[in-house]
């Protein structure tokens, strides 16, 4: 067991080492976030789900049978949290996109605005995809997971993953192209 690998970090976390758990969270946050985003299609909700999943993971750390696969384990928790959040979200009234999300950001406000707009467009486009297509494209193109890993995670054949990825990309390109064109049209109209 090497110092700094997941097994070591899990064991240190089990003993209450905050630095070790911080490192584990940092290491696997993007994976948990991507899974949550693929389920929910909304960045803020995905952040909430990812955050909750790490809090829950620490409380249930003894249940992580294979600490070398902590990443996969926490992604499963994130998926369940996201589904639960999604169910609750469908019940409550949808909030308007892009409120004060980036208010706390330390970066350039104009860049934040541009980024927010792009993100809103992507979120809208993602929400039109079938859930499985959204999962595949986010896990592949955002998180960089391999076809085999996605197939294992989602419990579908690798060929199906490739097919979903192809159709999801094509659908998104059409949607995003349309959105950008309509945005230009609006600008000209004003």
């Amino acid at each position: 067991m090497k110092q700094g690998d997941d097994v070591f970090l899990v064991q240190r976390s089990l003993a209450g080492d905050a630095d070790a758990y911080s490192e584990l969270v940092r290491r696997h946050l993007s994976g948990a976030y991507a899974v949550a985003l693929s389920e929910l299609g909304d960045t803020r909700d995905a952040e909430d789900a990812a955050q909750d999943s790490f809090i829950q993971a620490l409380e249930r750390l003894e249940e992580c049978r294979d600490p070398s696969k902590f990443g996969a384990w926490v992604r499963t928790i994130a998926r369940n949290r996201a589904r639960s959040l999604g169910r609750r979200k469908r019940v409550r009234q949808a909030e308007p996109l892009e409120t004060a999300y980036e208010a706390a950001s330390a970066s350039d406000p104009s860049k934040d605005m541009e980024r927010s707009e792009l993100r809103a467009n992507l979120e809208r486009a993602l929400s039109t995809l079938k859930p499985v297509q959204r999962q595949v494209i986010v896990l592949h193109d955002l998180e960089g997971m391999k076809h085999g890993e996605i197939a294992f995670d989602l419990g579908i054949p690798e060929g199906t993953v490739r097919s979903h990825l192809h159709f999801a990309r094509r659908a998104l390109r059409e949607l995003l192209g349309g959105l950008y064109r309509s945005g230009e049209h609006d600008d000209r109209a004003h």
């Binding site: 209450g16 758990y21 969270v25 993007s30 620490l58 950001s105 980024r115 993100r119 192809h166």
Partner: protein, 121 residues
């Protein structure tokens, strides 16, 4: 295969990442403290005490139920034995001839033994 979609705007910025990590650690503070103190003898004892107490409570409940039911059975048997007019010999199912022989403490004759045998039949 089509080209990947650029999801850069959806990625977690370093700032958001730091915020989330800090928030997780803040909300997990209690759990981390509990784990860090988990090796102290008192807490270890505490970890064992709860399931042990629960097991003891279940055992006490089961034993109590068994004891209550056996007491009821004993009372029922006692009630039979203490029916007015019934002697010990009657309660034990000993014939009256045998009881009379035992009371006199005499050696049973052949006729009295035959009488006991007939009574038993």
């Amino acid at each position: 295969m089509t080209e990947p979609i650029d999801f850069t705007p959806l990625r977690l910025s370093d700032h958001r990442r730091d915020v989330i990590v800090a928030s997780v650690l803040l909300q997990s503070g209690h759990e981390l403290t509990r784990r860090a103190n988990g090796s102290s003898p008192i807490l270890l004892l505490g970890m064992w005490a709860r399931p042990a107490l629960a097991a003891a409570a279940v055992l006490a409940a089961v034993c109590g139920t068994l004891l209550a039911s056996s007491t009821t059975n004993t009372n029922r048997m006692t009630d039979v034995a203490l029916t007015p007019g019934a002697g010990i010999a009657e309660a034990l199912g000993v014939s009256t001839t045998t009881t009379a022989l035992l009371a006199t403490n005499s050696t049973p004759s052949l006729s009295s033994m035959l009488a006991v045998d007939e009574e038993a039949q």
